[in-house]
């Protein structure tokens, strides 16, 4: 299942870099697209603004198929305080922009499954695919607006997984 999670994350990351190349984060000395996996980074006391954070939640398995299907729920959290140049008064627009980018990242609703433990990554036989996301309400904390979206990510287990 790790290959599916890695492939989903890398698909969103690649798409974000194309949709908005300016949304980046400096992390561990490297500038990279502004999306990360919570469980693959050092613990945050507070999530960074203006980037997407992936958090994996539930897991379901259906073994009564030709290939075992895994369904994993992914929550994508993001928040913004707007920009300094507008004194944060554009935080609503900034969150709307992140909403739009996230919607664009989800399409198309599939990506090839790759094994990222190999160098270079190897293409596997199946695709990872997902549903439309469900967006939660905006949460307001002082000048910070945040939102999360949840999506079910499906994949088939292949030999050796």
């Amino acid at each position: 299942m790790q290959n599916a999670k890695d492939s989903f994350y890398m698909a969103l990351r690649t798409r974000l870099a194309a949709i908005n190349p300016e949304r980046t984060i400096l992390l561990r000395g490297t500038v990279r697209p502004g999306i990360l996996v919570e469980a693959a980074e050092a613990p945050f006391s507070q999530f960074p603004n203006d980037v997407y954070v992936l958090r994996w939640l539930g897991l379901g398995i259906d073994i009564d198929l030709g290939s075992t299907m895994a369904a994993e729920e992914c929550e994508i959290l993001y928040q913004t305080c707007g920009t300094q140049s507008f004194g944060g008064l554009d935080r609503g627009r900034s969150l709307d922009e992140m909403d739009r980018e996230l919607v664009a990242m989800f399409a198309p609703f599939y990506t090839p499954k790759l094994n990222y433990t190999a160098t270079p990554p190897t293409v596997m036989l199946t695709h990872v695919f997902w549903d439309e996301p469900g967006f939660g309400p905006i949460s307001v904390q002082r000048d910070r607006l945040s939102r999360s979206a949840k999506v079910m990510v499906y994949s088939y287990q292949e030999q050796g997984e």
């Binding site: 030709g66 290939s67 036989l125 199946t126 695709h127 499906y154 088939y156 030999q159």
Partner: protein
């Protein structure tokens, strides 16, 4: 060279995509889809002459064919079966309202509401129309050359209908899709442009003519074609005409596999009907999406391969590297 493989479970698909191709009603010739040759097409760019109808939902199909046993012996036992009737029905809901989807979801002629002449007497399916204009030489499927005076009659965003004058033709009329069957001579010179499927949206207007947002289904204008502006569309519950079309439905699976349902001949079997779907499931009395409902009867074609009469071809293109046994 070697390949790995996997055991593919049942396909998982999000939605169904529908495509239309015209049946030549005079020659009674449908358009056939060859999944072996054409099955890999991009869903947004179907091979000619197929035209996308967009996404559909509530796609259900049902075979109504009946079989009877041939009984022999005492006591009688089934020796074999014979197919006594050949019949299939399908229903769907279109997720868009276009000239094509409206026409295919109605039971009879589907008409263009031509821009009316000044002071024309109101009529249920459009009053007397303003005078048609003549495309000039050099026109194409996406660019209509007009005189400056004629071009000034259109604005960007206009809908146009392009087809021949009605001059006493009988039988099927309209190109490239037969829009009606004329049983008795009519008086309306614009009748063919009222029922034609050859419509388009004007994206630009200049002194030399019109540019269209999409190519006209009928291609470049031919001699005798004329052009009129359209305000919308109208259909009627009743009448004797049945739309007939070649249909292709595609389910794209999550692993790249494809299921095709190809009905060479479909005819409407119900009048115009809509389905209202609430946008917010928690507020049934709020905004609703109005979908066109279509119910169809499949008509048979004779397969030249073996002379069998068939209603539908179901093709399956498996995912890459999926086991097939």
């Amino acid at each position: 060279m070697a390949a790995n493989w996997f055991s593919a479970p049942a396909p998982v698909a999000r939605r169904v995509r529908a495509y239309f191709a015209p049946v030549n009603r005079v020659a009674q010739t449908p358009v056939l889809f060859d999944a072996a040759e054409q099955g890999g097409f991009s869903l947004d760019r179907p091979p000619a002459p197929w035209i996308s109808l967009g996404w559909i939902q509530e796609f259900t199909r049902k075979s109504r064919s009946k079989t009877s046993p041939v009984l022999t012996g005492i006591p009688a036992a089934t020796l074999e079966q014979v197919r006594t009737t050949l019949e299939a029905e399908l229903s769907l809901q279109f997720l868009s309202w276009t000239k094509l989807t409206m026409a295919l979801a109605t039971g009879s002629q589907h008409m263009n509401l031509l821009v009316t002449a000044s002071g024309a007497v109101p009529s249920g399916d459009g009053a007397q129309a303003a005078v048609a204009v003549i495309p000039q030489s050099g026109s194409t499927a996406t660019s209509i050359v007009l005189t400056g005076a004629d071009a000034a009659k259109f604005v960007p965003g206009s809908i146009i209908a392009l087809d021949a004058d009605y001059s006493g033709q009988m039988g099927f009329v309209g190109a490239p899709v037969a829009g009606a069957y004329v049983r008795q001579a009519l008086a309306d010179v614009d009748y063919i442009r009222r029922v034609t499927f050859n419509v388009g949206l004007v994206s630009q207007v200049n002194s030399t003519g019109l540019t269209l947002a999409e190519p006209l289904p009928g291609g470049a204008p031919t001699a005798g074609d004329k052009l009129q502006a359209v305000t919308g569309f109208v259909d009627r519950d009743g009448g004797s005409f049945y739309q007939e079309w070649s249909a292709l439905f595609v389910m794209q699976g999550s692993q790249g596999e494809r299921i095709f349902f190809h009905y060479p001949r479909l005819q409407n079997m119900a009048g115009a009907e809509e389905a209202a779907i609430p946008l917010d499931g928690k507020n049934k009395n709020g905004q609703t999406r109005v979908l066109l409902k279509g119910q169809y009867l499949a008509l048979p074609v004779t397969d030249p391969l073996d002379g069998e009469r068939v209603l539908c071809y179901r093709s399956f293109l498996p995912a890459s590297n999926a086991l097939v046994q």
